[in-house]
Amino acid sequence: MTSRQDKTKVLLAQFPLETHSRGAITVAGMLRDSGMEVVYIGNSLPEQIIETAVQEDVDVVGISTLCGGELVLGSRVIELAKEKGIKDKTVFLMGGIFPPEDEPRLKEMGFNAIFIPGAGREEIADAIKDCVTAKRKK
């Protein structure tokens, strides 16, 4: 029997106009292989991402972005998470292509981990495990 405690539930999404799904599909497959439950909802508004995160009661929200929008829409996601009261119990991740100088900004904003091209299965899965453990301890 799998209890809520040992199966991590991950919501994967992209911003509304993103055209690329290579990264999101690959990560979804990797995380499923690592024993996590993945809900992939594809392109969605920040409102839809947070609404689904609440409904599905996920541990992790991961966003893949390759075409910009990471700062404007990323901060909107975090804002909405705070409004709905899930920011503290949920891990927020972002991966994809963006300028290096945006990485510290995203962390400051409230994203717990950032992944750039080349991030592999272990790196992502380990980071998720660490972040989830840290959140649950709180």
């Binding site: 509304p16 106009l17 799904s21 829409l73």
Partner: protein, 586 residues
Amino acid sequence: MSEEKATKQILEEVEKKSERIPLYNPEALKRIQESFGKWKNTVVTDRDREGWQVTPHTIIGSEISRNLIYTPLDNSGLDYERDLGFSEGEPYTRGIHANMYRGQTWTQRQLSGAGSPEYVNNRLKFLLSHGATGTNLALDLATVQMFDSDEPEADGMVATVGVPIDCVEDFETIYKDIPIDKVSSSIVTHYPRNTAIVFPMYLVMAERRGYPWDKLPGSVQNDFIMENVVRSACEWIPPKDDFRVQCDNIEFLRKEVPKWNYVTLNGYNLREEGTSGVTEMAVAVANGIAILDEMLRRGYDPDWTVKRLAFFWAPANDFFEEVARMRAVRRLWYRIMRYKYHAKDPRSYWMRCHVQTSGVSLQREEPYTNLMRSAYHALAAVLGGAQSLHVDGYDEAYSVPGEESSLLGLRTQQLIQAETQVTQVVDPLGGSFYVEALTDDIERRILDEVDEIEKLGGLPDAVAKGWLHNKVRNYLLSEQRMIEEGTIKIVGRNYFRDPNAKVPPIVTQAYDKKIRDDMVAKLQRLRGERDNDKVKGCLEAIVKAGKEDDNITYCTLEAARAGATEGEMRRAFTEAFGQWKPPIYG
């Protein structure tokens, strides 16, 4: 009707009936066989004999195994006239022009980058003044996804990876002072739906500037695989309807803008999403077949239809595979046009193609190494006989190309053209035992996958059933595993990685909120000035044409003339066709 028989069956029957005249005489082959056996057993080491065949593993590679050496024994049945011939002659393996690059260099087309319509106008003029011979317009995400700049979904995304276009006025700004009857315009519309919506706006701009449409050279993509398989999005229309819009555009463009390349069968983006070089070409060829069949059903002769059909390929790391692939698909396309569609005009046999060097093969680590990667990709494209080329920026894994990296891409092309001298001889690798064996092998593999698609009911059905989505997903996961295991070697990332490697300064564009504000103000002005009743009527006509099977592109043209915006037209399409969910979620 030709489509009752599978393409593979038609071509096999032709092969069986035709008499082959082998290049090599049997006696010589017998002697080679004997001495080859002796050599292999005495000179070659046990280790090399056991590992005679190796399979190259590369990003988006085809996993086709290779021998240690190739000899006439690997092409023992080679019939020079049937299999190779001469350039601009059947079966077109060696190229579509007799003098290839001696006559005319390939079109050197670099994507124009991101920014406001005014900025991109300047960027186009910059590239033209540095020797680019055509323009290549990248659209921003809102435009690609058919949203107006003022819709909520466009927040944070306007002008990030291309130029925003909402209406005719934007095209007027982008092409200001550019002679669009002389410089050909590639407009990267990607999908059938945004081709139907955006391209008529370009035509209205040309009309207002006094250019007759039959003088306009250029191309659009218009590929339903891009819209239904490659594209991530909030909403889709069903593949069969999108395929129909693709064909409506073809019919409209072929009649009204005869010099325009109405479809660029886009292998590139499918392959970059995650598939092999073989599947890339099989899907594009199957789409070409589906188009010709549908146009035949609508009463058009294949010779007329095919005239402006072009392909778009992605050369990646496996150098000889890339050269062989271009030669293989050129021969296969000729055979399909000749024997399945009985085309009579020699131009109908031409597999014309634009090529862009592979972006997913480029790495974030030590980005200058990407200059070398792209140069090899570009060289393969030229040795393979491409008609048009874009070389990716070395900063691909960081952002859209900056001015410097974009110029270096153009310089790479100029170097190959003017300094390496590879352009002096047509098909310089033709006749290589290796390249010819690989060309044969790849042609067979492409045809086998075309056959698989036809057995699923043709490409639109194969897509609706999820065949291609599953293929891409499986490919991606296996590729990712091979990278992590180190089976696929990537210099600087998993092979001789330098933990202290420094990232050179890369100029990235920060999001400029003002561009969206300007676009929003322009839209407000437009909606206030235009005849809104007329626009409403035009949008209703789009819905009606969609439901009643009339050519929808004539309706979007009228809507563009009346000042309808892109987002308004997108909603009309969704109303006409309803929504579809691709089989990738869960």
